[in-house]
Symmetry: C2
Subunit: 460 residues, 2 copies
């Protein structure tokens, strides 16, 4: 495809996306496709001859859109948001257009240096400590996800710890990515200890953590890492980082904070309390601009206080990557900060988002989501047939109907296509999760979602 | 950013990319930026207020382009190609515009099903065996890179093998990603055994492999995986997959094939010989359409003969991802086929590329690259001051000057900006690597590159 053909089709694709975003409310939020339905509409064999790109776009409408669950729909309230935004899309497009490989500094200096600037900017926007900035022993890096960030943290912690059998500590509310990381890293699920949580707040119990660590040390095992979560996936519970951190410091244990969803809320100074203890005690911290901060997936940021154990765990320098800049020690080679070797120029989208919205715009986006969540919680609280469960300092409100089967109610509203929400289990209870945070969601959407839920509960 | 603003700026970005691609030859191939230079041109702090997107585009020209090493330049001959193409960029753009999360089938059925179709199509295009197709016990999946594909293969193999100390086997020419995978997976570099290669062809020596395996088994260790490479990074050497496979079959060892660069050449029937033994003996096979097959990074494909050990190694199902489709067993949840949980809709770019070029166009692209490499090799062979080293069945030609210091010559031509090539070490010799394969590279570019190399050697 020549540059002129690209210019021609590129504008068609931009129009297609603009039309899609402008008209997104016409689609059922959750796809109604049945297993195999999309596949059955596609040819079993690849084409022998090339086709005009118009045919791809026609199939986007005919085949792909009916199989899409619309994560950018203003009535998408399931999981957490995976915010896309105009500048996020454009930053990704610039990255695809340049087509560079940023595996080491020398293979495209701007790819590495813009990433350093963007993650340093983000650390400043979130009020994270100076020792997470690149002009320190630590620094930040863009990962594809908080799962990969957790794996990198686990590998660094295992590298730093000395002992034959190493263990990591999570709570019953910690994301499954930590157990997956332990399995990938070869210590296995049997070396992941699960700390009890407070039955109401669902926060990790530091006293219980201390007991488990003491037991393990007495048994000759090596505690390597504790994962504290700021904003759990299930209910946005916040572990007591300071109290956990004191234990980790005493014992020399790596403290990782998984703030995948909620961490970006700290762009608002009034929410910086969520990071209490991070500056003093935390070795690594992950949050995902690709969830609630308007930056297209994939863009998760991991900061470390000391980059040495991570690089020791992940660095191998083959001959074909030797170069003067690496040998000078003056540059960062981000390939040593992640699992794969190759890297896209992901910093362009984070940089685009921060510049387009500015600190002001990012704060406004977060505050809007929180205000809508408060509004929704008030609506639920005022209705005797429902109750709000847990706290809701961010965009997620957990609640449940009192006179209707929860999952049956959820399936009914999700099947309607009018909105899409998800569920979680806490103890013996099933809760609905209403995760608000799309940039297009307004009070009218939240009110309509509530009306639909209420009507569904009444019409059982 | 509203859909209309996106429409407006999107077209500006498309124009920017089209202009960049049309004018790419005006730039020095390798960036001349010194460490810190790009960063110094950017503000130390993020903007408080948002900025118009024009300012980002202005900084693309002013700050970013001088820091770019132009991987899409027709005179980029370093590493292997990382082909971008118009349809690849457009497929990525559609993915960004939809902004869906394909972690499980239920979160966007089309994202999973199009991926299944695209990797099945690619298996057919490459003549890979039916048991790599999705309607079998095996199947294919898009990974970010061959490094991650190798890690997944190692994890599956470690899961399948029974024993306390497990080992993997590579050659001295195997990509460092395998050693990195062993370190990540917790078996460590000490359990990676390096098999000698034939001194001329640089192929793994199967007799030596057998000896190492026998030694290890006698010592009570468990051989878990052998990695054979089809087209090594250093010189595109091809390990004898059939002979290695016979040993693996006898001993029940997982055989992974890393065909990251060269595997896609099998779109041409006359090159299918490279996969001799794959149908009979191979458990997993990785190749990267993002190298030589016109699909923007990241798009690496991994096929497995039996998906069960991989899924057993990687699957954890938290409550919030439970859904009827998963429980029915009728769908694929690709999150269990990879390290991270989240996934972009990467199939769109592979699908776009296959449809735009067709099988015919893809074959023509590969054949053009090979013909240019043959041409370059002939030019080198005709010059008494240079010699061609190793074979060159693909787009890579290794060679060396006989009367000039190799690295000094390389640095001189790379610093000129006219072309960019890389080096490798084989035994005591340093070889230059001329990797041809950009869709814009023509005979004129290859001839000019040779003229520049020859002139530099003469002007020493």
């Amino acid at each position: 495809m020549s540059p002129e053909e690209f210019r021609h089709y590129g504008k068609q694709v931009v129009d297609w996306i603009a039309d899609y975003l402008a008209g997104i409310e016409q689609y059922p939020v959750r796809s109604r496709a049945r297993p195999g339905e999309v596949r059955a509409m596609l040819p079993a064999h690849p084409p022998e001859r090339g086709e005009p790109y118009e045919q791809v776009l026609a199939d986007m409408d005919r085949v792909i859109l009916p199989g899409i669950t619309h994560w950018q729909h203003p009535n998408f309230f399931a999981y957490f948001p995976a915010n896309a935004s105009g500048p996020g899309i454009l930053g990704d497009l610039l990255s695809s257009g340049l087509g560079v490989q940023g595996m080491v500094w020398a293979t495209s200096p701007a790819c590495t240096e813009l990433e350093t600037v963007a993650v340093d900017w983000l650390a400043e926007l979130l009020g994270l400590p100076d020792h997470f900035r690149t002009d320190s022993a630590g620094g930040g890096v863009i990962q594809d996800s908080a799962s990969s960030a957790a794996l990198v943290a686990v590998l660094a912690a295992l590298r730093r710890a000395e002992g034959t059998t190493k263990r990591i500590y999570v709570s019953s509310q910690t994301h499954s990515a930590l157990e997956k990381a332990a399995r990938i890293a070869g210590i296995g699920s049997q070396n992941v200890r699960t700390v009890d949580v407070h039955p109401e707040t669902l926060e990790m119990d530091p006293a219980r953590l201390r007991t488990l660590i003491d037991e393990d040390v007495a048994a000759g095992l090596t505690p390597a890492l504790v994962c504290a979560t700021i904003g759990t996936t299930s209910t946005t519970a916040i572990d007591p980082v300071r109290a956990i951190g004191e234990i980790c410091r005493e014992r020399g244990i790596w403290l990782h904070v998984d703030a995948a969803y909620a961490g970006v809320a700290a762009v608002c100074p009034e929410l910086r309390w969520i990071n209490d203890g991070v500056a003093e005690y935390v070795d690594s911290y992950a949050t995902n601009p690709h969830k609630w901060l308007l930056t297209n997936f994939d863009c998760g940021v991991l900061w470390v206080r000391d980059r040495a154990p991570m690089i020791n765990a992940l660095s191998i320098l083959p001959e074909f990557l030797r170069n003067a800049a690496t040998e000078s020690g003056q540059v960062i080679d981000y390939r040593d900060w992640q699992v794969p070797l190759g890297r896209r120029f992901r910093a362009l989208k984070l940089w685009s988002v921060i510049r387009w919205y500015g600190a002001e715009g990012l704060r406004e986006h977060i505050r809007t989501g929180i205000a809508l969540a408060q509004r929704f919680a008030s609506l639920v609280a005022a209705e005797p047939d429902f109750e709000v469960r847990g706290h809701h300092p961010f965009g997620l409100v957990c609640f449940r109907p009192l006179r209707t089967d929860v999952l049956e109610l959820m399936e009914r509203v999700n099947a309607s296509g009018a909105l899409y929400l998800s569920h979680t289990k806490v103890g013996d209870e099933v809760w609905l999760r209403m995760a608000i945070g799309a940039p297009t969601t307004t009070e009218a959407h939240v009110d309509a979602a509530w009306a639909a839920l209420r009507a569904a509960a009444q019409s059982r």
